[in-house]
Amino acid sequence: MANEKKVITFPKGLPGFEEEKSFILSEEEGIPLAQLDSERNKEIGFVLLRPQLFFSEYLPGVDLTPDEIELMEIGPDDQVDVWAIMTLCLKDMSLSTVNLRAPLIINSRTNKGIQIILGDESFSYRQQIFSGMENHPGAEGAREGAIG
């Protein structure tokens, strides 16, 4: 099912899973979806989505701190990949959400990654993907004019 597999190192782990430093990223072909599984604990895995295809105004650039740049060994010509962790709702898939507040940033050259937390509070931890699209993340005035 999954195609290309890469081992990604998260030197700090992920919030809640700080001890898991090594994950296998399996990217699906033809769809901006991937699976991220802990290498040592098979019970720990995430479904990832490339958010930019769904939220066009999302994160045109990433502001990384010097620490983060060092951690991922980002060089001047490096490109980073942005992924967001999905929370699937199995009972009703249309209620599945994606965490836009805390995206995963991966340096595709060094295969090192980090989950950053954006300072911008208009990005949601639980952004709906399939409904509520009118509330675009980043558009703070989205609800202006709504009555009730």
């Binding site: 769809i31 720990i44 929370t87 709702c89 199995l90 898939m93 965490n99």
Partner: protein
Amino acid sequence: MLVLSRKVNERILIGDDIEIIIVAAAGDNVRIGIKAPKDVKILRSEVYEEVQKQNMEAVSVIKFDDETVSAKLKEMLNGQIDKNKK
């Protein structure tokens, strides 16, 4: 841990370029202003806890090996991508 008492409008300096000011205090609510270089990460601690919680929730429901779930998800995502193109 260093504990300091401050009044409203009084400041604390940390190192050469971080300044903290007590903007207002009312009951158990304190408003704090922070001046720091852009590369210093400042987060309310609940924010990290919220991400921990969300990550744990995201992992607990994963059934991606289940072909029916992943097929359904892909179908819905493709539908959404098509919709966004229009």
